[in-house]
Symmetry: C2
Subunit: 215 residues, 2 copies
């Protein structure tokens, strides 16, 4: 949590439709966030529909092509310059299909959020919903977590449970989870920008911090 | 599912208190199971309290010491002889602290059930509740599955979700999960002995079998 009354500029990174970005934007328009404000959108894909959505809502939007840069660090530095121009202090990944590298991780330590369509640590990586169906689990869900150098491994901010039904396909399960993603991501962004929290080990503990109250 | 009206003799294997065995026994006494009948208990630990519980309820109970046998196969053959004496056709593991080996797996293919205190595939192996707390997940639970040669990897029969609360310790979480284990294990034993099912890939599908109804 920042000091009181401060607005926290949020940069969104996405690669496609950005349905979670759309959901966050709706919440922002509804006045749900006291402090978080989406100030720019950056995509690695110039055809991402999320860029169109951003512009239609008056939010500066940029496509940065990784292949136009000599390496991941150079690409991320280009992204970083845009985020810094807009004063971003918190980054939200909304369907950003790349592993975040050192440049962004070092500049935003513990300040990058991601959402993943499973109950992590089950089913990290691509096609989490298909993995869940093929594994035969009865419950899956979604997870919002801080990003670290691993693949969907960072400290967990929040989770929601979604049942896997006997006749589910990857599409029907994805749709059911997505509805929960939209709620969960907004809730978690609100919490990390409005509530005090502390990361102990890899557990994100919200609320006034007490010492020695946990074995 | 066996042919109608047939009683299915169940052998329980345990290593300690056997609280899941106690719970199944209570359900059996209440008439919850139409077909499953616990007919014997085998423990690798002569001091297991589950043996006392069994005898107090008139159920034949045996301790088989692994170290008194020249190897795992010999030990499991000794266990197998007891199970066969009692006509066991389904084995239920209730806190049995060993990996089931080839002798039992080969004799009871898809006929050994286990319960694990997490939402598998998260947190297999020992201390699943502690793993969940240390990982910082918001939800854990329990899983009943068919046993295969892996560690908590077999096809999932049923799961229940349990929230992980901010002040949970390993003990408080274990207790909350255990209450659900007792319900889930009985429910799953009832289903696999009373309902038709089919294992497709690694998904356990209950109900009358339909072909081609799933993408």
């Amino acid at each position: 949590m920042e000091s009181a009354d401060e607005i926290i500029p949020v940069g969104v990174m996405l690669s496609g439709r950005g349905s979670n970005f759309e959901a966050l934007l709706r919440k922002q328009c509804d006045g749900y966030f006291q402090r978080a404000r989406i100030v720019c959108v950056v995509s690695d894909n110039p055809d991402a529909r999320g860029l169109v959505t951003a512009k239609a809502n008056g939010i500066p939007a940029y496509a940065i092509a990784p292949h136009a840069h000599p390496g991941k660090a150079a690409y991320e530095n280009a992204v970083l310059q845009i985020l810094l121009q807009h004063g971003v202090s918190l980054v939200v990944l909304a369907g950003y299909m790349r592993i975040v590298g050192r440049v962004l991780l070092d500049h935003f330590p513990g300040r990058i959020l991601n959402i993943h369509p499973s109950l992590l640590p089950s089913f990290p990586g691509l096609h989490a919903q298909r993995q869940a169906i093929e594994h035969g689990v009865r419950f899956s869900g979604c997870t919002v977590h801080f990003v670290d150098a691993g693949m969907d491994t960072g400290p967990i901010i929040g989770q929601r449970v979604v049942p896997v039904l006997p006749d589910d396909t990857e599409d029907t399960l994805s749709e059911r989870i997505l509805a929960q993603e939209h709620e969960l991501y907004a809730e978690c962004l609100k919490r990390v920008t409005e509530e005090p929290y502390e990361i102990r080990g890899r557990t994100v503990c919200f609320g006034p911090q007490r010492r020695g109250d946990r074995a």
